[in-house]
Each structure stands twice: as C-alpha cells, then as structure tokens.
Symmetry: C2
Subunit: 168 residues, 2 copies
C-alpha cells in the first residue's frame, strides 16, 4: 500500500512529456487545437504532483505566463478530465481538486482533519467487497469514492502540516 504525500513533488521531465503527448493525441483526435496556453497548463499540472486546486494551479501557471487566467485553466482542466488523464475530486471543503491518473491505478483517500495531509491507499479486498454488495442490490459500479476522515496517529507527523482551510 503506497502512501503518497500531497506536497509538491516535482515529476521528472520524461513523465511530463509522456502526459503532454497523450493530451496532444486527445486534442487532435477531437479536432481541437494545440495552443501555447494548453501546453503550459498541462506541463505545469503534471509537474506538480498531488491533489491540486484550480487556485494552486493557476498560481503556478501564472509564473510561466501571467496572462493566463481562470477561464483557460478551468477549460483546460475540463479537457484533461474528458481525456481521462485527470480526475476531479471533491473533498468536503467546497473546492475541486484535480489529480493525475498516473501509474497508481485506483486509490482512495485518508484525510487528516487536523493538518490536511492526504494519504492514498488501495486494497483489492475492498473492491471485491463493494462489487459483492452492489450485485446484491442489482447495481453495476462504474466508479467509486471512499474517503476516510480522521487524524494522523503520530502527532509529530501531523503538526508539521497545516492546510485544510474550510470546514471539511
């Protein structure tokens, strides 16, 4: 079970290039246009790992090209979601976060309400159990979302963080 930090970890260039190429392919398959702005946003997004809010992304994007605004970031993010390269998530604080669908196939989240740290985890038994329960209800699962809200057990681990502005 991999635990991945929420913090800004820079991805290496080859990873970013691969994502960029995949997005390009999607854009072209749709007959859309490749633009400097889209390139910038996609690069910056995949260089920043983790659960990124629009605000965070825009801030970083503006450091490359200050003329890019919210509208373009939102629009590009929608394309990224549509392309399947990115997933939108909403934890309880009313603003969307975006996460690259990377090597790590599917995972769920543990969200610390004290420090905002987000742990990722996944477990095959969990999926199997969900499938079983769905079947019992005549339901077919397309996707799911599981979030555990709580707190880090190790205080030292916890107090070093401090995000999570709103109520969760």
């Amino acid at each position: 079970m991999a635990v991945v930090e929420n913090r800004t970890q820079l991805a290496d260039d080859s990873f970013v290039k691969e994502k960029e190429a995949a997005f390009l392919e999607f854009i072209q398959s749709k007959g859309l246009k490749t633009t400097r702005q889209r390139g910038t946003i996609v690069q910056v997004f995949f260089r920043l790992r983790g659960h990124i809010s629009v605000e965070e992304l825009l801030r970083e994007v503006k450091r490359v090209n200050p003329r890019i605004g919210y509208a373009t970031v939102y629009r590009t993010l929608h394309l990224l979601v549509e392309s399947g390269l990115v997933e939108e998530r909403r934890f309880g604080d009313g603003l969307a976060r975006y996460e690259g669908r990377n090597e790590v196939e599917h995972h769920d989240h543990m969200i610390c309400l004290e420090c905002g740290k987000i742990r990722e985890f996944s477990n095959p038994g969990l999926l199997a159990l969900q499938e079983k329960l769905a079947e019992e209800n005549g339901f077919k699962i397309y996707r799911h979302r599981l979030e555990l809200y709580g707190a880090c057990e190790d205080p030292a681990d916890c107090k070093s963080h401090q995000e999570m502005k709103g109520r969760a």
Copy 2:
C-alpha cells in the same frame, strides 16, 4: 441490508413529533429560541424522507409559509446538523443534500448516474476492513464516506426515475 428510496415518503406524525421534540431540546439547551419558522422547517424536513437539497426543502417550506427564505432554511439546517439530528452530504453535483440521522445508524450510498436513484447500504465487514487499513497507515478514522457510482441493473427499475440534473 436495507435499501431505502430517495423518493418522498411521508413519515408518520409520531416520528416527526419525536424529531421536533429532540430539536427543541437542543435549541433550549443552547439557550436559543423556538420560533414558528424553525418549527415549520423541522417538521417539513422530517416529513420528507431521503436526501434533500436546500432548494427542495425551501420549495416545500414555502407551501406552508411563503415568507420563509433561503437564509432561514440554511441557518436552521446548520442547527440541525449541529444538533446531530441531520447529516450533510455532498455527492458530485455541487449542491449539499441533507439527510436525517434516523434509526438507520450508518450507511453508504449507491448512486445511479442514469436516473439519480440513491440506494443506501451498510456492511460491517467494510467497516472492519477500513479500520484495518487505517491502522496500517497510522491513521485514526472519525468518519468515512463511501459512494458507488454506477447504474441500476434493472432497466425498468431505472427508467422510472429521472433526477440528477448536473454532472456527477
């Protein structure tokens, strides 16, 4: 495993009265005031079962007292949540839904993306597994949220519904 419909099922009077009394107790314990509006909102809320949006609640409340507006409904709903009688939920469509915390202790949701029907379910094995995974990560769970998004397997069951306005 109980499957409860989202549809407006009217609750019987004694149930509503019980909830109203509990709310009254909360209000008084806080030194707050009982008002006609709060009474109306609480009664209407508990008479409507299911996952109710603010808009839906206000619509019904206005049929009793058209002068009541969003502000009072929001404020009363917050009190209900604070009192522990009601839980706030957010599925993917960007508006909050409220659900009475009733006899049914805890449960999770299966949301049909075709018709908007919401099935409730719960399973002890699921909880145990979550606890185990949290422990492995040095995490203490306060609460969790599990949502399965998908579709009803029985088309007849499904097509009879049609809610879910936004994208989920």
